[in-house]
Assembly symmetry: C2
Homo-oligomer: 411 residues x 2
């Protein structure tokens, strides 16, 4: 008899995703994703924070959300209200802050309350892969907003908004990462922020501000957040993934109750409370010192990476030197499609993020790539970049010299 128990294939829903490969661990040279520096995790501090927080609130683990309701642990929201006031100019109380499962859940939920298939959103031409992937899955029309080294271009935004208005289209939001843009690492000036918000007001379009990297700045000023300049019209999200740990899965949304109340009503999962307790306790005492320390380490790693890239790639590469964060955005010569390099690099134990995944128009970013420099050691940065350059020169046929002579060999 044919055993129907094996017959899941006929039972899956129509558009089910196929299973991927089983997890195979990290490559030797890992420049992908948003991992951080293992040696900057404040292990002792977290152990102490866990003890203090559990001693104080441990019994309440018996209650869903500690009994603090759907916005999340009050202690963490209080810490955030203070931090956001002090560092980002934001005048929010704990009641304006929703703790989420990383900033990813924030994006997921904001989309869930605002977007129907066929809606239009405006997104910086190079943008966070996760945000783009979610929008594509929703069948939303994504209009790319041109960037330069200073961030989004208000002049281009004005044209886009006017053009959409002529077509009778009111975009659902303008998604931007103004403070340490992902992937380009730029910081939007106060003047551009004001022009952006002026246009948002003029055309009646909310701004979706993603500040996941705003804690990690080493160059230039960080103007006040967009939310602080126009709380009514801006939905603000942030994360502890980059400032402390991506494994903890904690982010937040700052907005009014008309937004937060709907995010809560449409969400099915909430973040774990132990992580909220520990982060609140640790960062309430050590936020500034931790940020100072990790920022210095990241800046040093960036210097190492830039030096290695310039040494190994010579004039073949164009750098977007970031003012903070954990990524370097690079451009190879126009004739190169980095997607062709992913497989040979992987075979050599190197993982990088191909630019097309970080772009509204993938083909227009075919010569770009993104390197995360937070996880690898300085030695791994040097070794990995040398190995990647070797693959680049081998597979593109571009000669390994130029204005600079290529000096290093692969170690």
């Amino acid at each position: 008899m044919n055993d129907p128990g094996f017959d899941y294939a006929a039972l899956f829903r129509k558009d089910v995703a196929e299973p991927g490969a089983r997890w195979g661990g990290f490559p030797k040279y890992n420049f992908v994703g948003g991992h951080n520096d293992p040696f900057q995790i404040p292990v002792d501090g977290l152990i102490e924070a866990a003890a203090v927080a559990l001693r104080q609130e441990g019994r309440n683990l018996a209650l869903y959300t500690l009994g603090h309701g759907p916005l999340g642990y009050e202690g963490l929201r209080d810490f955030l209200a203070e931090k956001l006031a002090r560092w980002r100019g934001i005048g929010a109380t704990r009641d304006d802050i929703l703790i989420t499962i990383g900033s990813g859940q924030g994006i997921e939920l904001v989309n869930r309350i605002l977007l129907d298939p066929g809606d239009t959103v405006i997104v910086e031409e190079f943008a966070y892969f996760g945000a783009l992937a979610k929008l594509r899955k929703l069948g939303v029309n994504i209009v790319g907003l041109p960037l330069d080294r200073e961030g989004l271009r208000p002049d281009a935004l004005a044209e886009i908004l006017e053009d959409l208005k002529r077509k009778g289209v009111r975009p659902k939001y303008i998604y931007t990462i103004p403070t340490i843009q992902n992937p380009t690492g730029s910081i939007l000036s106060l003047e551009r922020r004001k022009r952006l918000l002026g246009l948002a007001k003029e055309y009646g379009v909310p701004v979706f501000e993603d500040e996941c990297y705003a804690d990690l700045i080493w160059e230039g000023d960080a103007p006040p957040s967009l939310y602080s300049l126009d709380p009514e019209r801006v939905i603000h999200i942030g994360s502890f993934s980059k400032s402390l740990s991506p494994a903890l899965r904690l982010g937040y949304v700052v907005a009014g109750w008309d937004i937060l109340g709907r995010l809560i009503a449409s969400r099915t999962d909430s973040p774990g409370v132990l992580e909220q307790l520990v982060v609140a306790e640790y960062f309430s005492r050590h936020f500034e010192s931790h940020i100072k320390k990790i920022t210095k380490v990241l800046r040093d790693k960036l210097d190492t990476l830039v030096e290695a890239v310039e040494r190994e790639f010579g004039t073949s590469v164009e750098l977007w030197r970031p003012k903070g964060g954990i990524y370097l955005w690079l451009k190879l010569p126009d004739e190169v499609d980095v997607r062709d390099l992913v497989k040979p690099a992987a075979d050599a134990g190197i993982a990088f993020n191909a630019g097309p995944s970080w772009a509204v128009d993938p083909d227009a970013a075919k010569s770009y790539l993104r390197l995360c420099f937070a996880l690898p050691s300085e030695e791994e940065i040097r070794g990995g970049v040398a190995a990647l350059a070797q693959i680049f020169f081998e597979h593109t046929g571009i000669p390994a010299h130029g204005a600079n002579v290529r000096k290093a060999t692969v170690g």
Copy 2:
């Protein structure tokens, strides 16, 4: 000028949920939901476990998923493989286990890969509110499977399956809580388990087994899990919410890669790693002793609750005495609609779960209610039941006596 920044109303998606009320805290007598006993949280043990686990794995918090991939922390999956083998007869390895954000995410994801609107599922007539709510939201046809004091009735299932087959309908799954049913607290016998699985095989329908309460048993045997009896045809989920803490948001799915791989591919959020580390460390050493302790406390609380209910409600109430877990399922006289009592009870500081939310056919469960006895103290149980009985007698006009004379007054 009209400020368009306030104009979110025109931007929300078509079927957006309205914001609920802001969180107002817990009522005095809280019998709702799945909260647990605050005094059974092993605070010292968790502090120690956090220190050990962070000392060992802390640096890896810099890596998404600790670098352990999308299934979750290996140490927790190893603990689960051992626990499930020892206590539930399950022969799974760490590679067959996916850690989820509570069992709720497991249900959400299983639905996401199996169900299209208009599909049919079979669900026990009284069932977990969360599972029912998700199915209703998906526009799925829910067929209620009759229960008796011993759990689901295989004879009724045979009829349902045959009837659906005649209509050309192949149900996507049979959802059951066989071991400490929610809300009735029954344990399905081995013989019924085998008949259920025989029918599942005959009709080619997978079984979705929810064992969230299976760790908390004080009466009768726990036959092997359905998964252990037929791993090919059963998707198994469980949780740490009831055995340790609902605030931690940790559950799991046990299934083959054809299922797990698709669950991963369709999920957007993963559980936090700190919680996984701490639970793995704590339960690897203390699972059995913790369960023994909490089970005894719960049993004593149940005795207190049953005594109070019998004293206060007299012959007006019919009890489904549970063999474990944290809930008591009650039936009031047929003419009572408990939905009419929710508001007056809330006004008196009492919260209970109305039966209709826990039923495939809400109206058929209008005289039922569910009381969670894990959170309130024995004193609160007695006081809350007395207060609830007073409201019941006042609002239904049913005289407060019967075979038993009502002895207590509200304190």
